[in-house]
């Protein structure tokens, strides 16, 4: 006669499951926090009021509109602008002459602006913004 052996219930040890959960959470948190971002660094000269107007007039001037880019008076498209700014900046040796004064119309989209900014940066120029300042004049 064959005797039936009673089946034993075996529970897996659950005492370390909280430690495992904790380690997993730390792992996913670290993964989420170190997700790299991509971008374009831009050097900004300290903002100051216009003083040396004569010195600034030597710098290249770029105007950006939603439809085109104007470099020293000539309207250009982005590929042509990239070439022209490279040539223009290569001719300048002093760092202060490589400053490019950028003026944008208020409706210039960021997409267009950042492409122009990248072209100036790639050509070795330092971008500076020319902003219209608001001034209240009280008239008697």
């Amino acid at each position: 006669m064959k005797l039936r052996r009673g089946q034993l219930l075996v529970d897996p040890p659950a005492s370390s499951s909280s430690d495992i959960a904790f380690i997993l959470i730390i792992f996913f948190l670290v993964c989420a926090s170190v997700q790299p971002e991509t971008g374009l660094p831009q050097f900004l000269p300290r903002t100051e009021a216009k003083e040396e107007k004569k010195e600034q007039s030597k710098n290249l001037e770029v105007s950006i509109t939603p439809s085109n880019i104007v470099l020293n008076g000539s309207p250009l498209k982005l590929p042509e602008f990239s070439k022209r700014i490279l040539v223009a900046l290569q001719a300048k040796t002093r760092p202060q002459d490589k400053v490019v004064v950028v003026k944008s119309t208020p409706d210039t989209p960021y997409d267009q602006w950042i492409r122009v900014s990248q072209a100036i940066d790639n050509a070795g120029g330092t971008l500076t913004l020319e902003l219209e300042s608001e001034r209240t004049i009280i008239v008697d």
């Binding site: 971002e37 409706d107 997409d111 913004l129």
Partner: protein, 136 residues
Amino acid sequence: MKLARKKLTASVPSFAMGDIAFLLLIFFVILARVQDDSHVQWDPAILPDIKMIGAPLASVAIDSGYKTYLNGEEISNDQLTPRLNAILGETPAGERNISFKVHREAQAKHFEPVIQSIGEAGGDLIHILEPEATEP
């Protein structure tokens, strides 16, 4: 005759410790997420040849509604420079990274005053962009 009483041992039940730790973690994770700007709705501009960037000290964003945020908190442009000055403190130049997230349809009237404020605070501006997909 004196009967010796059996000593009772009182142990703290540790069965629920894992659950408590888990709930505490969820709590701290939610607290930490309050300071980030992942709730800001914006679409990055797409540009070729962009680099990986290091960890910034602060994040300035302009969302699809053209509102400005500093570390996820809505802020007016007047308050931006003093708040950035407080965050950057005496951090040496080159380490004063400020990430700048601008919705791609924002216009110069929205983002240029913000760039000016970051410049006034002496921040090193990093435009956060999406790399252009290259043809295989």
